[in-house]
Symmetry: C2
Subunit: 412 residues, 2 copies
């Protein structure tokens, strides 16, 4: 819990430093929200989500992702909002899948989105925000890699490579190629080529598997989506952020329409993207009205934690109180509570009272184990003389005086 709160804290502070405002929604959504995106989504909803029928005979789903929810919220309030809208959320998401490294049935995800801005500097900003988050955990630029591409460019590149071989691919084939490319890292080179050959003619498959980034760049240099991507890369470079154009990056979700990006741990310990996102210019359309352009990303707490652990960056604070008041026996418990109250009111520190029936020595060693910093013993003599000793548990440091003096010691 301490780790999770540390992660959420860095996430929210960084998002807010870029002017993103927090939103939330219920974890329970109408299932239609996820089916609306197409027939293959209906299958996904039925097989990979927690979907139920409630007492009111509504089909409901524990949200597997946040983007459809936020798209609905923005579309529903389009008249009241002043664009660009910058929003973030830290929802818990559910998937009915076999749990595995980096992927649990329930996890939490930071979602940052900007709506209503089509300028390339929106893409620059959202990637700069993703970069700032990783940096704010204390990572340095050698630990991770930002890969960027453009969904339209990827589609056009596939078409172009096919046409160089004298073949024409239809929309359905291109979708299938993209979905296979998304799984490339999970397949051997032979399996990949083999599966590619089942979608497109053999010579096109060969070409798709062998074309290098340099060849793609040369082939596509006059295409607007390529130029846009280069401009984004240059914009990020001017902010000191290095990115890597990756022509194999496609992202699984069908709804991306422009820039797509992922951040990877380069240690080799964690194979999943830590963060992924992109531009989607049509998603609000299904809620009626003009489409509103959006760009955003999601990053999970599980992959984030794996990254931080791998690089020794986990830095959660102790959640123990600063001071433990230790009554020598139960007759001093109330006096100890009164003293605790004085520290809370006047020194603004976290204070607990050990009102167990354990012996003093055990109470002190328990406090030490919990990472409490200070203890103060309350016994008959201390109360009678109004003289208490504040003792640091991990340093050779103690101070004796009345409560007012000891409270002042903390306050000042």
């Amino acid at each position: 819990m301490a780790v999770q709160r540390y992660i959420f804290d860095v996430w929210s502070k960084t998002a807010e430093s870029f002017g993103y405002e927090r939103y939330d929604a219920s974890v329970l959504e109408p299932s239609d929200l996820y089916k609306a995106k197409g027939a293959e989504n209906e299958e996904l909803v039925n097989e990979q989500t927690y979907t139920f029928t409630d007492r009111g005979d509504r089909e409901v789903t524990l949200r597997p992702e946040m983007t459809p929810t936020v798209a609905r919220m923005v579309a529903g309030r389009r008249r009241e909002l002043s664009f660009p809208v910058r929003w973030y959320s830290i929802p818990n998401l559910f998937r009915y899948e076999r749990p595995q490294r980096g992927r649990l049935r329930e996890h939490w995800q930071l979602n940052c989105d900007m709506f209503g801005a089509t300028d390339y500097t929106a893409d620059v900003e959202i990637i700069a925000l993703a970069h700032a988050i990783i940096k704010n955990f204390g990572a340095n630029d050698t630990m991770f890699e930002i890969r960027i591409n453009n969904k339209e460019l990827a589609q056009e590149t596939i078409k172009k490579i096919a046409s160089e071989e004298g073949e024409y691919l239809d929309e359905e084939q291109i979708k299938k190629v993209i979905r296979l490319m998304d799984r490339e890292a999970k397949l051997s080179a032979v399996e990949y080529l083999d599966q590619m050959s089942k979608i497109v003619p053999r010579d096109v498959a060969n070409s798709l598997c062998e074309t290098t980034l340099e060849e793609v760049s040369k082939l596509m240099e006059n295409v607007p989506s390529y130029q846009n991507l280069i401009e984004i890369g240059k914009g990020l470079a001017s902010l000191g952020i290095v990115t890597k154009l990756d022509s194999h990056l496609v992202r699984g979700f069908d709804y991306y329409t422009g820039t797509i990006f992922e951040i990877f741990d380069v240690s080799g310990q964690n194979n999943r993207a830590m963060l992924g996102g992109g531009r989607y210019d049509n998603l609000t359309e299904m809620f009626g009205g003009e489409p509103i352009s959006g760009i955003g990303f999601g990053m999970g707490d599980v992959t984030m934690r794996d990254f931080l652990e791998t690089h020794n960056l986990l830095n959660a604070n102790s959640t123990a109180p600063t001071l433990m008041i230790i009554p020598t026996d139960p007759t001093q418990n109330l006096e100890a509570q009164k003293i605790a109250q004085q520290f809370r009111h006047n020194a603004d520190i976290a204070v607990a009272v050990d009102i167990s029936t354990k012996k003093i020595g055990k109470k002190i060693s328990d406090a030490s184990e919990k990472m409490v910093e200070y203890v103060l013993v309350v016994g008959e003599d201390e109360v009678r003389d109004n003289q208490y000793t504040l003792k640091h548990l991990h340093e050779d440091n103690k101070k004796t005086g009345d409560i007012t003096t000891l409270v002042a010691h903390f306050r000042d």
Copy 2:
């Protein structure tokens, strides 16, 4: 969302100042967890919760309360924990009920519990924590009332009143009387007496409805549970906290065994308890092993908000960035992003860039409406001369200089 975050913030800061540590659990629990508490709970689970069968054929429930979950967690780790354990959580809870004032199908609730302490000062502390939370929202003691009672005392009082009339009541009758007493505020005096007469003989019913607090006090003064309650009241008084003994307070949940308490808004605007809790010494027993005593309370975000609104205490901060950078036209967008980055890195403030295609005047009025404090316009002239004007939107206050100077203005 800003209101909710403000409420959560006061909740967590106050709980932590008393040494309570945060925990959480999944919102999805096995339904058995709620049925275990008895046959009438099975009915409650079936009728008033979101209960489903998942793909693995498990019966699961969206948690309607947090106490069974935390009892299971503590019981499961009893050997590793050093008692007393002080824990808090802010879970969302689901009930399948008709939504009404102060009661929604999904709401969030602060839960604070202490485990493994039977001393009366544990009860004093938990009620002092509840009191400190309300005070930390800026409330004064005239706005609310803390009512206390003891579940065992209530049961014994009912028995005693009956025996004074020469009648003996069995456990089942006493349970029914308690459940009716819990609904007293919702019934007229006639209805209440009428329903009471259906559970117990008429003369006992009369006596139960008419006995005053003074009479109860006299009748029960030698009973240990009464003496314990008085001691708790005195302990709280010594911390400056006024409570009111309320012999009609019973609390609905069957699992309470000792002290019970509620906090009420006295304005007359909000009839539901803002907060309720009590001591339960048997709840961990159903997970095996020795029972661990617990005492705790829950308070909901909806009733909390109603109270704060009624007393004009709602105090949520603006969530807008401190500074909006306003490029005069899209060619300045990237330069504006670079300037924003300098403010974030070197002055640690929240900064956004208005990269929309609106006119400058509209961008400034939008920033003002969002409650942004400062704007800084970035145009061709400003960039060429490296001279920018930082303008306060709500005060007559501006400052011109290069970016380094303006950043330093914020930092210092």
